[in-house]
């Protein structure tokens, strides 16, 4: 059986969490990174239908772009209690991404919260491409 072409897993780390992500395209890589991030937060139930949103980010390089993508999701969750889903990447390059999706408020009473993420660190963060596969490991400070 072939390994999944894209996915995420959590690797051992003493104090925090190491999220390992991979995918055949940048779109898949960034999408599974979001999946892994939300998995870490817990089981989140939406309150209502949410609304459409557009996120535009620019960064000096791909590594910073991945950091900023997850940091954006963290900011929206931590500040506004929001989750982003049903998204697609209208544009994604080494320096810029444009995402269209839905953002919905989390129903705190019907959600299970597992881990509080303080920050997306830059530690060991490096997006690499080898044999047609993008890969990165992100350490999230809990």
């Amino acid at each position: 059986m072939e390994p999944a072409r894209s996915g995420y897993e959590f690797l051992e780390h003493t104090a925090d969490v190491k999220l390992h992500v991979w995918g055949p395209t940048l779109e898949r890589l960034f999408a599974v990174a979001a999946d892994g991030f939300y998995h870490l937060l817990g089981e989140l139930t939406p309150a209502g239908d949410g609304e459409r949103l557009r996120i535009e980010l620019q960064a000096p390089d791909l590594t910073d772009l991945l950091h900023d993508w997850l940091a954006e999701l963290l900011f929206r969750f931590d500040t506004h209690g929001q989750c982003v889903e049903d998204f697609f990447f209208q544009e994604i390059t080494n320096n810029r991404l444009v995402v269209e999706g839905r953002v919905w408020p989390v129903d705190a009473a019907r959600s299970r919260f597992d881990s509080g993420v303080k920050a997306v660190t830059y530690h060991g963060l490096d997006v690499t491409k080898q044999a047609g596969r993008f890969e990165a490991t992100v350490i999230l400070d809990l």
């Binding site: 959590f10 003493t14 919260f113």
Partner: protein
């Protein structure tokens, strides 16, 4: 840079190990790790040792790159890291030397209550704390800070919320730096950080943050205990929390803003997470002003929770908190950077001290120790992990001589969060704690499983080393009775 067994280590004495400055290229000073043989064995192969060596490469570093006995791996600096730089000599400020949770710290509240008489009410008191203090992911507080109100908290810390009825002026007198660092500038805090913080002041957070009801189990220094208002069998409450999303964002902003800055100043870094700027630079000053603002937010945060704790106790016991004697003993920061004066080469110098998972420990007689404690030294509060004992220490002259007035801050993790969760499978950590006499309430099961006692090193081993090394002296040990967690 990762740790390899070939990083040269030399034992200096029973409490200290040296990394000589020729051990790794670029080191400007030696590294010194405070650890006995047993603690050093558990550190052994960990990359945190390399982090001590990396910090020794920072421009303007004075004397040594230090690590306390609770050393473990962090970002840039190890946790337990202490380093002082001389701004007059190109000394730098590095956000990694403060940490993401700026002014994560601890405060201890005393009481006139006795553990024996309170035993039947611990569960009710803990439940009351759980109701009163917002804790856990997604839990907002009763305080909403925007615009000028938030500016005021960022500028004046504890005082700003005390004036808004969340405490009494004496609380600030027994808080490190009187609950506010000078030189904060709310204008240096990003809009994103402000947004993250505005609903979070007066909330506990999650992870290893907690509020604990404790009993003073054993007193080791009767004179110091008396000066601190503590005695055996007495009930205390400990609050461990920091600057919440605001501080985390300030650190994240800084690491991004300082990218490219070291190179511009000709600074070569062995690790990107040691990103820094000269203290006397506009970038360095910008971070310092933002960091101080976040530190002040954290003091306001712990001050509001102090009020909520007093409210919770007052409701259950049906007496005002003053009648319960619930006065603040002291509040310490353990992730911070401050300008402090030390003697270097016969001259008194103002140095930029970084404490990342390390606590200030000023000795008897120091003018910054509150007058009521000046005879015995600055109180140092060392939280144990959940279900295990905490300690109160006082600073000693050895800290001023050797560690820029610093000591340890806690225990340090042994098991990864995953390993802790795996170890907890099929067990009820809550029931196990209850069997040990600890009543625990947590917002998430993970909050208990990941933070179980076995996940941490033994804080007793850590405080023994700092006492033996003359950095601080143990005053008493506190045993948990009830705990709330996110």
């Amino acid at each position: 840079m990762t740790q390899s067994p070939s990083v040269k280590l030399e034992r200096i004495d029973a409490c200290r190990v040296r990394i000589p400055k020729d051990a790794v290229p670029g080191m400007r000073v030696d590294g010194i790790i405070y650890a006995d043989e047993t603690l050093m064995k558990s550190v052994g192969q960990d990359p945190c040792v390399s982090q001590v060596a990396n910090v020794a490469t920072l421009p303007g570093i004075v004397k040594h790159s230090l690590a306390m006995p609770d050393i473990h791996f962090g970002y840039g600096f190890c946790i337990g890291g202490v380093a002082a730089t001389d701004p007059e000599n190109g000394g730098v400020i590095s956000p990694g030397g403060v940490g993401y949770d700026i002014n994560c710290g601890v405060r201890l509240i005393r009481s006139d209550l006795a553990g024996g008489e309170l035993r039947s009410r611990v569960a009710k008191l803990t439940d009351s704390l759980f109701q009163h203090v917002p804790c856990g992911v997604g839990e907002g507080g009763e305080v909403r800070l925007k615009g000028r109100d938030l500016d005021d908290v960022l500028s004046r810390g504890s005082a700003a919320v005390i004036e808004r009825r969340y405490g009494v002026p004496d609380d600030a007198e027994v808080t490190e730096a009187r609950g506010a660092l000078d030189g904060a500038d709310p204008g240096c805090v990003s809009d994103r950080a402000r947004q993250r913080g505005q609903g979070q002041c007066g909330t506990l957070g999650s992870g290893n943050h907690f509020i604990e009801i404790q009993v003073v189990e054993e007193v080791f220094d009767a004179e110091a205990a008396e000066a601190l208002g503590l005695k055996a069998g007495q009930v205390t409450v400990m609050i461990h929390s920091g600057s919440r999303g605001l501080g985390h964002q300030v650190c994240d902003d800084a690491i991004r803003d300082l990218r490219g800055v070291p190179k511009a100043y000709g600074i070569d870094l062995p690790d990107r997470q040691l990103v820094c700027a000269p203290v006397h630079s506009k970038e360095g000053q910008h971070y310092l002003k933002a960091m101080r603002s976040a530190a002040n937010f954290a003091w306001a945060n712990r001050q509001i929770m102090t009020h909520l704790v007093r409210q919770a106790f007052s409701e259950v016991l049906d007496r005002p908190w003053e009648a319960l004697g619930m006065h603040l003993v002291y509040d310490v920061a353990h992730n911070i950077s401050k300008m402090e004066t030390f003697e270097v080469g016969g001259a008194r110098k103002s140095l930029c001290v970084h404490r990342k998972g390390a606590t200030r420990a000023y000795p008897p007689g120091h003018p910054e120790v509150p007058p009521r404690y000046r005879k015995v030294g600055q109180p140092v509060i060392i939280p144990g992990d959940m279900g295990r004992c905490s300690y109160v220490l006082v600073g000693q002259p050895g800290a001023m001589e050797s560690t820029f007035g610093s000591t340890c801050h806690g225990a340090g993790r042994l098991l990864s969060r995953h390993a802790a969760i795996r170890a907890a499978k099929g067990r009820s950590i809550q029931k196990e704690l209850a069997a040990r006499g600890v009543y625990a309430r947590a917002r998430s099961r993970a909050g208990l499983d990941e933070e179980q006692p076995d996940a941490y090193k033994n804080v007793q081993d850590v405080v023994s080393v700092v006492e033996k090394a003359g950095l601080s002296r143990i005053v008493c040990r506190l045993r948990p009775l009830g705990v709330i967690k996110g």
